[in-house]
């Protein structure tokens, strides 16, 4: 062993002295494995155990990474441990990784590191990297062969000393609806030179609400050809030259590997460093960045995309597991009741007991779990030694080691139960909640930019939690009532973490649970609007999500599909109008706002009139009233107050007719309360000079030939129309 090391050292020394290409080729490949993601996405689990040791299909994640590095021909790996470093080091020391031939694992420990940039600076100081190295984080699953990528990297480096990094990418289409990749990360835009494969642009935080990305025009001027991709997934596997480390040292503000380093290099044209890409096709690579990717990668592993790193191949001392039909993996010593139904794509760990009539599908069950009878487990991840009592229901959740669920407890989709939580009898844990024995730290950093800044080492974290626990109680009551309800049913132990503001809306994006149908419908609606708007100037679509109310959602049933755009416009106008009413905005300003909306949606003034009128009537209905006459009074008041607004859109008779039609429609559908008042309100509108008699008469004439069902309101206002006709005749 010692001799081997010496030889390796001698080889590296030789390589450093003479830059002979042959020597370079012989140099053992090194890798830096960051055993800390420097994010907080896996909290609260990561408060107690580092992310790299979390089981992925019953094997700690880091084993996938190490097994791959070993198979890919890496000779020496430096595992950089930060949060919970002791746990990582202990684990590695007890694992088989320290005793592999031709594969050395060394750990580097540091507690005061808060970002990947700091980690690389520290490694640079230690002067252990002597040649090209693979930079990877400990949560990456891959089975690619490095040889070709490495070869390309070396050849480029020989030709161009500035080619410092090769980034591995893989094709993966983002969802057109949610604008995120299947791994739950944001849609990534890359500009790549199709000939040289040089990376020219990298943007993973594009503003999707805009639907546009901005490219520097120099990019187009300088490069003869450029291809822009949004269907590439960044595998977070980088082959780097040693210069990368010194770059980090030179630029002490580089923290994040992508956000700062990659973007920094792409923008910096003084040094001229270049990043290249290598696309893999047949092999697999993915990084577990959030709960969703945990779910997706687990499923990919079960579906064997990561072969040979699959449960039934013992790639890293995992237990013998047998693959049965329909993708069922079962370890030995399982006690399963005859009536239990274990469905397809399920992994069941060693020594687990399953009671009668329980149903399990698409799930991973760890070792030594006890599952009672009549339990339903769907798409969930149970780690080791979990106890599920009779009649529990789990759908799309993550349950950590040692959790106890008392009889009849229910976990809604997206729930994460951290270590040793106890859920009381028949307690229903609401969707997307995170439950932990530890209280939520008070520092809420929903801001992505700050994410890594507060993720200090585990020990520090712990003390800070304990220290702030008392005072945090007070603060938390104001933030959420849930957080202050430490009981999880009778006998429950643990705290439900409050979901921080703003995060709530985005929670479904990164959760283990699939995106709920209504969210998808909502988003696809918004997207349809977007698509029609691409060519136009736009203003406020970003807040789209909140504006859709339930009553409107049901409207889009039958023939509304084609009219999505106008429906959407109406909602915007309504929101604007309501805000104006609440905040007493001046009529002129409201007109301005509605005008800008109208421009951005490319609507006619008739549409505006309809929408404004619709909002007004809606407001009238919503204003509390006890009788029809009161409602009429309300309506009259609102019309009086806002008549100027309405009139500003009633330039021609067509718009007035539009209003009547709109009103008719409302009476029929959304606001049936108006239907008895139709004629009277028509009268009010006439009185206020909003509608001219011509419009009303034209409307009546048009309706003449309509179906009987359509004529209800014409008939109701027959008298009024008659009166109008007579009046006009008199005038003549």
């Amino acid at each position: 062993m010692g001799a081997q090391k010496k030889r390796a050292a001698a080889a590296t020394a030789a390589a450093r002295v003479s830059e002979d290409p042959d020597d370079l080729a012989r140099q053992p490949l090194q890798a830096i494995l960051l055993a800390d993601s420097f994010t907080t996405k896996f909290r609260p689990i990561t408060l107690e155990r580092p992310k790299v040791l979390l089981p992925l299909v019953n094997v700690p994640m880091i084993n996938y990474t190490l097994a791959w590095l070993e198979a890919a021909g890496v000779a020496e790996v430096f595992v950089f441990c930060c949060a919970h470093s002791k746990q990582v080091i202990d684990y590695l020391e007890n694992s088989e990784w320290f005793s592999q031939p031709n594969f050395t694992v060394k750990t580097i420990e540091s507690h005061n590191i808060i970002s990947a940039g700091d980690a690389l600076r520290l490694i640079y100081e230690q002067n252990v990297i002597h040649g090209d190295f693979v930079l990877i984080s400990g949560d990456t699953v891959s089975n690619m062969l490095l040889t070709q990528a490495l070869q390309e990297h070396k050849e480029r480096k020989k030709k161009d000393n500035n080619a410092v990094m090769t980034m591995i990418i893989k094709k993966s289409k983002p969802s057109p609806i949610t604008h995120q990749s299947r791994l739950g990360t944001d849609e990534l835009f890359m500009a790549i030179d199709p000939n040289t494969k040089q990376l020219l642009y990298y943007e993973d935080k594009a503003d999707h609400s805009k639907g546009t990305i901005c490219l520097d025009k120099m990019l187009l001027a300088e490069n003869p050809s450029i291809s822009l991709h949004n269907d590439k997934q960044d595998c977070y596997i980088d082959i780097c030259s040693p210069e990368v480390l010194s770059l980090f040292t030179d630029n002490f503000d580089y923290q994040h590997l992508r956000r700062h380093f990659v973007k920094g290099l792409l923008l910096d044209d003084i040094m001229g460093y270049k990043i290249f890409t290598h696309e893999i096709h047949s092999s697999y690579a993915a990084r577990i960045d959030n709960y969703r990717s945990y779910d997706i990668v687990s499923k990919d592993i079960i579906q064997r995309w990561t072969y040979p790193y699959v449960p039934d191949v013992k790639f890293c001392g995992n237990r013998a597991t047998k693959l049965e039909r329909r993708g069922m993996y079962r370890a030995s010593e399982i006690e399963q009741s005859r009536s239990a139904q274990v469905g397809s794509f399920t992994v069941i760990g060693c020594g687990t007991k399953i009671g009668s009539n329980s149903k399990i599908s698409d799930s991973v069950i760890g070792e030594g779990c006890t599952i009672g009878s009549n339990v339903l487990i769907e798409g969930s991840y149970l780690w080791d030694n979990v106890i599920i009592e009779d009649g529990c229901e789990l759908r799309h959740v993550i349950v950590c080691d040692g959790v106890i669920m008392k009889a009849g407890a229910v976990l809604k989709p997206g729930v994460v139960l951290s270590f040793k939580v106890v859920i009381g009898e028949r307690f229903v844990v609401p969707a997307y909640s995170k439950v932990s024995l530890l209280q939520q730290p008070t520092v809420h950093d929903s801001d992505e930019e700050l994410e890594y800044a507060d993720n200090s080492s585990g020990t520090v974290e712990f003390s800070s939690i304990q220290g702030t626990a008392d005072q945090s109680n007070g603060e938390m009551t104001s933030e959420s009532s849930e957080a202050h309800k430490p009981k999880l049913g009778t006998g429950g132990v643990g705290y439900i973490w409050s979901i921080c503001e703003g995060g709530q809306e985005e929670e479904w994006r990164h959760s283990v649970a699939p995106i709920p149908e209504d969210k998808l419908a909502e988003l696809s609606e918004a997207m349809d609007d977007d698509q029609e708007l691409v060519t136009q100037d736009r203003t406020a679509l970003s807040t789209s999500g909140e504006l859709i109310s339930d009553s409107n959602a049901s409207e889009g049933d039958d023939n509304e599909d084609s009219k999505d755009d106008s429906v959407y416009f109406e909602k915007e106008v309504e929101a604007t109008f309501l805000r104006a009413v609440e905040e007493n905005v001046k009529v002129d300003h409201v007109i301005l706002e509605v005008n800008s909306l109208r421009l951005s949606y490319n609507m006619t003034s008739a549409d505006c009139a309809g929408a404004v009128f619709y909002s007004m009537m809606k407001l009238a209905v919503k204003t509390p009233h006890s009788s029809a006459s009161e409602l009429q009074q309300n309506t009259a008041n609102i019309i009086t107050t806002w008549q100027k607004l309405l009139k500003s859109y009633l330039l021609e008779i067509d718009e007035e007719i539009e209003i009547i039609l709109k009103f008719e429609e409302m009476c029929l559908e959304s606001a049936k309360e108006f239907s008895p008042l139709f004629a009277r309100i028509l009268h009010i509108l006439y009185d206020k000079d909003i509608l001219q008699e011509d419009a009303i008469l034209r409307w009546a004439d048009e309706k003449e030939g309509a179906d009987e069902s359509d004529k209800v309101f014409v008939r109701q206002s027959e008298k009024f129309v008659q009166w109008l006709r007579e009046a006009s005749e008199e005038e003549d």
Partner: protein
């Protein structure tokens, strides 16, 4: 000892991570590993064979568990165990019984049973003759040890020497080890040369102007066809490409490089082409004791097509592929499900596998099994390095190579250790 342990671990790793491809390579490396295990093993004065058997079993069990799909590992472990037993038996008979040479040469073909050193050789020999089985069919027919399998020839060499030093116990132990290693060497030699030995028989089977169909790529088939070509036979080859790994493409390339008239077809076209074919010649992953074949996926389809058109279906298999197990046990009929990426491009289908929407359960399942099971009734002929055999004869051939004790007992015995 630590050296062997490191070797074993290294090999175990390779097996576990599926780094070794092909049964021949696996078989050879297993045999080489076991040879070094035996040579490192310290042997006590009494019951040396027992010690060796235990050592080999202990390691063999690990090896088999490391990649249960690769049956060649188990085959070789069992063959080595058989060799130890045989050598031990022949030594014991020679030492204690003092039998004449002719008697021994008669015995050697029969004795496959455990040679317990405490029993008298005469008793063993008697027991072997009376209870075990009648003399091998081959010996009866040919009546000469010319085509006898390798371990037997080696044992005859071993015991002629063994006789001279029969009294000295310590030298006997060295003798046993030495003999075993010699025999394992021959086994390795056998594995290495199995292609040539099979290929030698090519001319007997491939005739002028015939059309041969094969599926996928097998080194044995390749050599077989080359051998026939070298003997100036002119024939044509249809190569079914062997989806999803398309190794048939490689085979076609090599065949063309050697000047063979080759036609490449898709697997699905096999049925359409089979009526023009005179003989199907394929390789195998393993041959089971009942004459069934575990072969690359798609082979059953070819075999059925061949049966339909009464085309001979010939399987080439080196003797290391003969597995003494019967395929009624599902544990034996293991299949390797490989990565779906061999079938389809992940990127293109990534939207079908977005589990983030809908029910969250995958709607697209991709199954990529590596092997097919071809039942014995579809196989016309096996060509091994020991000649051509009927499927129904495979169990006899296997009985020549393996001790009945090692077939099933192995796991239980080692679990006890």
């Amino acid at each position: 000892m630590p050296d062997t342990q490191a070797l074993v671990n290294d090999f175990l790793n390779k097996l576990k991570k599926r780094k070794i491809e092909g049964s021949q390579a696996t078989a050879r490396q297993t045999a080489e590993l076991l040879r070094s295990v035996i040579s490192q093993q310290r042997v006590p004065y009494t019951n040396q064979a027992g010690a060796l058997i235990d050592a080999v079993k202990a390691i063999g069990e690990q090896l088999i568990a490391a990649n249960p799909v690769e049956l060649a590992v188990g085959n070789i472990v069992r063959r080595v165990l058989h060799i130890i037993r045989e050598e031990d038996l022949s030594l014991t008979t020679a030492a204690i019984g003092g039998l004449n040479l002719s008697a021994v040469s008669d015995d050697e073909n029969d004795d496959d049973r455990d040679g317990d050193s405490t029993l008298s050789a005469a008793a063993v020999a008697a027991a072997a003759r009376s209870t075990l089985r009648p003399p091998s069919l081959q010996t009866l027919l040919e009546d000469t040890p010319v085509s006898a399998a390798v371990p037997q020839t080696s044992s005859s060499g071993g015991d002629s020497e063994g006789k001279s030093k029969s009294a000295d116990k310590s030298s006997r132990s060295r003798k046993l080890k030495h003999d075993v290693i010699e025999a394992v060497n021959e086994l390795i030699q056998d594995i290495v040369t199995c292609h040539e030995q099979i290929a030698e028989q090519a001319v007997e089977h491939i005739h002028q102007n015939e059309v041969i169909l094969t599926l996928g790529s097998s080194r044995t088939v390749l050599e077989f066809l080359f051998a026939a070509k070298e003997k100036k036979r002119s024939f044509r080859v249809f190569v079914a490409e062997g989806a999803p790994r398309y190794q048939g493409h490689l085979l076609a390339k090599e065949l063309v490089a050697r000047g063979l008239q080759t036609t490449l077809i898709t697997d699905s076209a096999v049925f359409a082409m089979i009526s023009r074919v005179n003989m199907v010649i394929v390789g195998a992953h393993a041959v089971m004791a009942n004459g069934g074949v575990i072969a690359p996926v798609g082979m059953n389809l070819v075999a059925l097509a061949a049966q339909k058109h009464a085309v001979p279906f010939v399987v080439l298999a080196g003797s290391h592929k003969l597995c003494p197990l019967y395929p009624h046990n599902p544990e034996v009929l293991l299949n390797e499900l490989r990565s779906p990426s061999e079938l389809l491009d992940f990127g293109e289908f990534s939207d079908c596998m977005d589990f983030g929407s809908g029910s969250g359960s995958p709607l697209l399942h991709v199954v990529n099994p590596a092997f097919d099971y071809v039942p014995p009734k579809l196989v016309s002929l096996f060509i091994t390095d020991a000649g051509g055999h009927n499927p129904s004869y495979m169990y006899r051939l296997i009985a020549d190579y393996y001790s009945a004790d090692d077939l099933v007992v192995q796991r239980r015995a080692t679990a006890g250790n």
